[in-house]
Symmetry: C2
Subunit: 198 residues, 2 copies
C-alpha cells in the first residue's frame, strides 16, 4: 500500500468514470464511504470480475464473459437476419427498443483509411466468412449515418450484394418528438424526399 491516504487514492481512481471531475469524485467517495459501503464493496467486486473476464463473443464480437454470447447461443434467434452494428452499446439499444429476433455482427468501429482503419483492421473478413456460411439472407446495416459510417455501410453492402443477399439499412427521417424547425436541413431534405403514403 502506498503512503498516500486511501481516500485520496479512491478520489483519484474514480476519475476514470466518464464525466467525473475532482469535485464529483470527492462527492462520490464520501457518499460511498459514509452511506453505502455495501454498494461500494459490491461494485468493486463486480467491476474487478468484469474488467478481467469480459471479452468478445467469438461469433458476433459483442461484450461477454462467455466464449459465445447469450444471443448467438440462443437457437430461437433467426440466423437468416444479420444486423451489423458499430459498438456493443448499439446492439443493446436495438435489443431494448425493437423486437428484432435475428443475430448481430459488431464491427468495433468504422472504416477510416486516414486513421489506418481498413477492412482488415475491422476484421471484415470474419463478416465475409459469416455471410459465406449461407445462413444469412438479409443484412441490416445499423450504422451511424456519418461520412465514415456511410463508407463502412457501402463496403459491407457490396460484400453482401456480391453474395446475392438482400441489404437494408435503418430508415432516416424526422425523429419521434422532433420539431421540424429545429431539425438540420440535411435530415429534413432526406425525410421530405423519402416521404411515404399515409
Amino acid at each position: 500500500m502506498s503512503a498516500r491516504p486511501l481516500l485520496d487514492q479512491l478520489i483519484d481512481a474514480l476519475r476514470c468514470l466518464p464525466g467525473v471531475g475532482p469535485k464529483s469524485a470527492q462527492r462520490i467517495a464520501f457518499h460511498l464511504l459514509e452511506r453505502d459501503r455495501e454498494g461500494g464493496e459490491r461494485l468493486a467486486r463486480v467491476m474487478a470480475c468484469a474488467m478481467r473476464d469480459i471479452g468478445q463473443c467469438d461469433r458476433c464480437r459483442t461484450l461477454t464473459e462467455a466464449s459465445r454470447c447469450a444471443l448467438c447461443a440462443d437457437p430461437r434467434r433467426d440466423s437468416a437476419q444479420l444486423c451489423v452494428v458499430e459498438q456493443p452499446s448499439d446492439l443493446v439499444a436495438i435489443e431494448q427498443a425493437t423486437d428484432f429476433r435475428g443475430l448481430y455482427f459488431v464491427l468495433g468501429g468504422r472504416l477510416s483509411p486516414l486513421d489506418g482503419i481498413g477492412p482488415a483492421e475491422l476484421g471484415l473478413e470474419r463478416l465475409a466468412a459469416r455471410l459465406d456460411e449461407g445462413e444469412v439472407r438479409e443484412v441490416i446495416l445499423a450504422i451511424s449515418p456519418t461520412v465514415e459510417g456511410g463508407a463502412t455501410a457501402h463496403f459491407i453492402a457490396d460484400l453482401a450484394a456480391g453474395r446475392g443477399l438482400s441489404v437494408t439499412r435503418l430508415a432516416q427521417g424526422v425523429p419521434l418528438g422532433g420539431e421540424l424547425d429545429h431539425l438540420d436541413g440535411g435530415t429534413l431534405a432526406l425525410a421530405f424526399a423519402g416521404r411515404r403514403a399515409l
Copy 2:
C-alpha cells in the same frame, strides 16, 4: 458466479453511485470496458481496499485507514484551535479553502431529538473529554446554519463556554459572487444587520 451476464451485473452495481440511473450506468460500463479497462481495474482494486480499510480517526473521527488521521498526527497543527464540523467532507472543504492550521472534531451528524439523535448518539461526551484535556482555547463552530445545525451549535457552545473557552462560528452573509436580488431574505437581513466598516 451467478448466471446473470457480468455486463448486466456491472450495470446494476454501478447504480450505487450517486445520481447514476440505468442509462448512465450502461454508458459508464461500456466506457470502462471498451476504452479504459486499466482505469476500471485500478478503481475496483482501490475501492475494495477503501471500503474495507477506511474507518474513523480515533481522535477527530474523520475518515482514514489509519488509527489516527494525518492531521491529528501532525505535530505542527495548532491544538489550541478546534474546528467542529458535521461531516468529513466539511473538513476537506475547509482544508482546501482556508489556511486554518488547527485541529478538527467531526460530529457525524446534527442533534435531532425527533429522530432520536441526542448528544449521546453524536458522541458529544468525546468532545467534552477533548475540551477537558485543556489544550483547546478556541472552539470554531463550522456547522450548517439550519435549524438542527443551530441547535447543535448552541449545545456545543454551552459545552465550551462552561469550560471558559472562546467560541466562534463562521461568518454569515452574502456569498462571493452572489447577486443581492437573488439572495433569500433571511440571509440578506443577516448580512445587513452584520454590516462592517469599510
